[in-house]
């Protein structure tokens, strides 16, 4: 979340879409309710189903799963057409005024400039800004923007060209009139997303769409800047082959409306697990290091090359300023290497940079299973993850495990992964042939461990152990440390191809066999290895002390830090994340003394944008930070997310993590795989061809898996019903099917079916139905409901159904034979978003019949 849960109470307008917080985040949903009750805030809910969130909404629209960009693009078009945008904010805090390079082409035909159909890769060199100066008032004088070096499209394809970089000085037009200004391109791009087009793609009738568009943008009626609107989403947006771009469209809309950085505003991802935010921050993803440092790749011959590639340089109008906070990458990276390798990381050996693995290709979750299915991966640790159930195309995952040599499962219950070999349908003969050795390690549950959970609001909240793990169950760190120490012992004894990273890994814990998480948390925060002084204040942190924050990190080896973003969470004053102060002097719900929020205990990110260019809050009643002229500093109720002494006249951009300093309406170069502005593409399995460009219906750079088990269905094969998957309030993933109380609340799996479709097929509530996709079939009872209605998609009657995900072949109901003993992900396809690698669990095609 850019903001936080509690901050939602400050909002005037909510768009909840791609998420179902009343059901999946019920505790947090008190804040939307609070905003409704206390501020008379309006709530718009857009979802394929009428959910429990929709039941609380002022306006509900039923959308076809996967049509989100069309809807949001339509909102952008509406906001621009009706002058409901935050003009000063847009000019000063976004790249609306920047001029885009000549040769850049919008995707009228579904493709941006630079596409190579043979490799399915874009040459992104035209996806860049024009170098130059102030062109305000020179709109249309093309010659003034033409630079000699501008390459023609296509000519750039010659292979080892140096990677394009952003120009240090960007040409701009503050009147936003230049035909190649980001604003004009944006306007043209979304002018195609008319209410009629929105209706054809999303199935939302034009009048309803206009009602929602008018309501949501009403906060900027007549140029008023006081009000704030928030967008709230969850995995309903990420689980598409264009999920990242859906979220980007939302971010762009929020920038246009001037809602980012403001109390009650923002783009707010609701995390579906108590620590998913922490998992991402700490690099539980293959292509990043902790704190979102980039992973080295094989072309990074040495540390200097890596730093050059990953440390951005400012790119902005000459007259503006940019903090470019990622310019500190070397400090973060050296401190990280010191935390990893301790004394073995020295200046002379490039801080042991060569110890780090280099990522040569995609190793995302779906790729791992694909590699295992192809026999490339021979063994797997599945700890805290029910791999068979959580991924798409369950059958393939089970087949992959059958080919592995070994599997280690760390869990609190026997689950579908640890018992993959007895998945329904496996014959006794087949079982005999499975050679995979399975090791089951009983693990501790969440209440049996201490440590931090990082919530959606980016708070690190320390929790204590409630009770010891039962029986032989062990803590994760106990298991992992012992495996590590054993591997290290083997390297010591037998040597190996490259023992150094293992032998030299820093392991300073009091109990090496079972490190305390407190010690690990202190290491993640960072410590001084020599005395370090803050040049601004003169404060000296002595060698061995905890660092007060990331401003103290150094690139000379005098600091170590496991994750720069968490620096400040465990200082000399103690564990900041265990704080439970309930003071809230501003009444904005900041609670600065409750737990600790990254970065730097700041509760709303980009909060400089809550003020106008002169440094005065847009809304005097919700003052977050402001410029104090007398003190020459930014001060406030929240921690300023800004260079504290940068005066407003310097025109430093509020989005300090971007080299431009501004929010990106146009995302240049390699920021996104499929283009600088989001475009609506159809899901891989879609009931229609994309009405915008039928010849380029899907995302052109999508990744499909290509094994014999990766099959895709089409309407002409009878797969005509759009299917989506989701969770219920009453259950949590695949755990709670082992808990009698949850099972009592919702005992069995079901399929939600629109009444009309049910009567077409003669299905009554409670009848068993069979849902079939190109990959497999799934059987469960029918829940016939009015809460999903038939839709008109491009004029054609189209049905959607929905299936909750919580059941499989292990659990209370399963053991009693109450379910059909299979998981719904048997149905979903292995096809992933090219940016975040998330599979398309929402909006694939099925057939439905009575079982």
């Amino acid at each position: 979340m850019t903001n936080g849960w509690i901050d939602i109470k400050n909002t005037d307008m909510m768009l909840i879409m791609g998420g179902n917080p009343a059901e999946n985040h019920p505790c947090g949903f008190k804040w939307p309710i609070e905003a409704k009750l206390q501020r008379n805030a309006k709530m718009i809910v857009v979802d394929p189903r009428f959910t429990r969130t929709a039941a609380s909404a002022d306006l509900f629209l039923q959308i076809r799963a996967g049509a989100d960009i069309a809807f949001l693009g339509g909102l952008i078009n509406y906001a621009i057409e009706n002058g409901r945008i935050a003009h000063d904010y847009v000019v000063n805090y976004t790249n609306a005024a920047f001029i885009v390079k000549e040769g850049f082409k919008l995707p009228d035909d579904g493709l941006y400039s630079g596409f190579d159909p043979s490799t399915q890769v874009y040459d992104k060199s035209t996806w860049n800004y024009q170098e130059g100066g102030n062109l305000t008032g020179h709109a249309g004088t093309e010659a003034s923007t033409r630079t000699a070096g501008a390459r023609a499209v296509g000519a750039a394809a010659s292979k080892p060209a140096a990677p394009a970089i952003l120009p240090p000085k960007v040409a701009y037009d503050l009147s936003l009139q230049h035909p190649r200004s980001v604003f004009q391109l944006l306007k043209t791009q979304y002018s195609r997303y008319t209410p009629e087009m929105v209706e054809r793609i999303t199935g939302i009738p034009k009048d309803q769409f206009l009602k929602a568009a008018d309501l949501f943008t009403s906060i900027r009626k007549d140029g008023d800047m006081k009000k704030a609107g928030t967008i709230i989403y969850a995995v309903g947006w990420t689980q598409h082959t264009f999920g990242t771009q859906i979220i980007r469209t939302a971010a762009m809309l929020q920038l246009l409306l001037g809602n980012v950085g403001r109390a009650g505003g923002g783009v707010n991802a609701l995390r579906g697990h108590s620590n998913i935010q922490g998992a991402t921050d700490m690099a539980g993803v293959f292509d990043i290091l902790p704190g979102y440092l980039k992973m080295p790749n094989p072309d990074d011959a040495d540390f200097a090359t890596f730093l050059k590639r990953t440390t951005p340089t400012p790119s902005k109008p000459g007259e503006w300023d940019s903090y470019n906070y990622w310019s500190n990458t070397p400090k973060f990276a050296v401190s990280f290497l010191k935390a990893m390798y301790g004394d073995a990381a020295k200046k002379e050996n490039d801080w042991a940079f060569h110890y780090l693995p280099k990522i040569d290709r995609n190793h995302a979750w779906t790729q791992i299973w694909d590699d295992m299915y192809a026999g490339l991966i021979k063994g797997m640790f599945a700890i805290g993850m029910n791999g068979v159930q959580i991924g798409p195309n369950t059958k393939k995952n089970i087949e992959a495990l059958k080919k592995a040599d070994w599997l280690v499962v760390g869990e609190i219950y026997p689950d579908e992964t640890s018992e993959f070999w007895k998945a329904p349908g496996t014959t006794a003969d087949e079982m005999k042939k499975i050679q995979t050795t399975v090791y089951r390690l009983p693990c501790a549950g969440f209440a049996e461990k201490d440590g931090n959970f990082v919530n959606s609001a980016r708070w690190l909240q320390w929790k204590n152990v409630a009770l010891p793990p039962p029986g032989e169950a062990r803590l994760d760190q106990d298991i992992l440390a012992q495996i590590f120490l054993k591997v290290r012992e083997l390297y010591q004894k037998d040597g190996g191809t490259f023992p150094d990273p293992i032998l030299n890994a820093r392991w300073p814990y009091t109990q090496p066999r079972n490190p305390s998480l407190a010690e690990v948390a202190r290491e993640i925060n960072g410590q001084a290895l020599a005395d370090v002084a803050d040049p601004a204040t003169g404060t000296v942190i002595k060698a061995g002390q905890q660092l007060p924050g990331f401003a103290f990190l150094r690139d000379d080896g005098s600091t170590l830090c496991g994750n720069w973003l968490y620096s400040g969470s465990w200082t000399e004053a103690g564990n900041m994340t265990a704080r439970r102060g309930t003071e809230d002097p501003s009444g904005l719900g900041i609670y600065a003394n409750w737990a600790w929020s990254w970065p730097a205990n700041r509760r709303v990110m980009y909060n400089r944008a809550s003020c106008d260019p002169s440094g005065k809050p847009w809304d005097a009643d919700r003052r977050q930070v402001w410029w104090n002229e007398a003190g020459g500093r930014w001060v406030g109720n929240d921690v300023p997310d800004f260079k504290v002494d940068s005066k407003p006249s310097d025109h430093m951009g509020p989005f300090i993590m971007n080299p431009e300093g501004i929010g990106r309406l146009f995302a240049p170069l390699a920021a996104f795989a499929e283009g600088p502005f989001p475009e609506h593409y159809e899901p891989i399995e879609s009931p229609l061809l994309n009405p915008l460009h039928p010849k380029q219906s899907n995302n052109p750079v999508v990744r499909r898996m290509k094994t014999d088990l990766d099959k895709f269905g089409a309407p002409d094969q009878g797969f005509t019903i759009v299917c989506t998957t989701y969770r219920l309030t009453e259950h949590y993933h695949y755990w709670t099917k082992n808990n009698p109380m949850n099972v009592q609340l919702v005992p069995e799996p079901f399929v939600e079916i629109p009444q009309d479709l049910a009567s077409d097929l003669g299905i009554k509530g409670g009848d068993k139905v069979k849902v079939t996709s190109a990959r497999a079939s799934y059987v469960a009872k029918a829940m016939v409901t009015q809460r999903i209605k038939p839709m008109l998609i491009d004029g054609k009657k189209t049905y959607q159904i929905g299936i909750p995900i919580h059941w499989g072949y292990r659990g209370i109901a399963e053991d009693e034979g109450m379910t059909a003993l299979n998981g719904v992900n048997l149905l979903s396809p292995t096809v992933i978003d090219p940016n975040a690698y998330t599979p398309e669990f929402k909006g694939f095609l099925v057939k439905l019949e009575k079982a």
Partner: protein, 194 residues
């Protein structure tokens, strides 16, 4: 908290007046349910079952999100789900909360022939005293909300008991420790009792 601390206002089938009447003033409370903010999360159902240490019971899928068709002798708090289509075609999904309402004039208490089986405290809470119950089940028909139920295992009726111990400090019943949307709370009774 010992029961003796609570002032009793009414006693089922009790021949004499209520002992100690008027001696002690209690803050009056009532159950306040805001169906417009209830999200049907059923956390209150779970809290009630757990607080009262009720056994789990098998349920069956019945074409609804509702846990079971009605409250039962060992399930005293049930969210009911209703789909309703307005005339303009838009939908409402209504969640109602079935549980003892701690009536101001409790039908259960009026119907009960056993001395002291049902009492009403001065703070408004209606309570059941199992040891005085004769199992006639008149309370079952006396309650307009269909809350007391005949248990499967013995002759007596069962109705919720635990509000007594939890409402003293207006901290609320287990099911109203609702950290969700505060749809259900124990509130001070505003209207004066006549």
């Amino acid at each position: 908290m010992p029961t003796g601390m609570l002032q009793i206002r009414a006693i089922s089938a009790h021949p004499d007046g209520v002992p100690g009447r008027g001696v002690q003033r209690e803050e009056e409370v009532c159950k306040y349910i805001d169906v417009t903010t209830c999200i049907g999360c059923k956390a209150c159902e779970v809290a009630c079952v757990e607080w009262n240490d009720m056994p789990f019971q098998p349920t069956t899928f019945d074409n609804t999100y509702q846990t079971m068709p009605a409250t039962s002798w060992n399930y005293w708090n049930l969210i009911t789900f209703h789909e309703h289509q307005r005339d303009d075609g838009t939908l409402m999904w209504l969640m109602r909360k079935d549980q003892c309402m701690h009536c101001e004039d409790p039908g259960c208490l009026r119907a009960c022939p056993a001395d002291g089986a049902i009492v009403q405290y001065a703070n408004g809470i209606v309570d059941f005293q199992q040891e005085n119950c004769i199992g006639c089940q008149y309370c079952v028909s006396g309650c307009p909300f269909d809350i007391p139920k005949r248990p499967a295992v013995c002759g007596s009726a069962r109705r919720p008991t635990c509000a007594r111990s939890r409402t003293r400090a207006r901290s609320s019943c287990a099911s109203t420790r609702d950290f969700r949307t505060r749809a259900c709370t124990i509130r001070r009774r505003l209207a004066a009792r006549t």
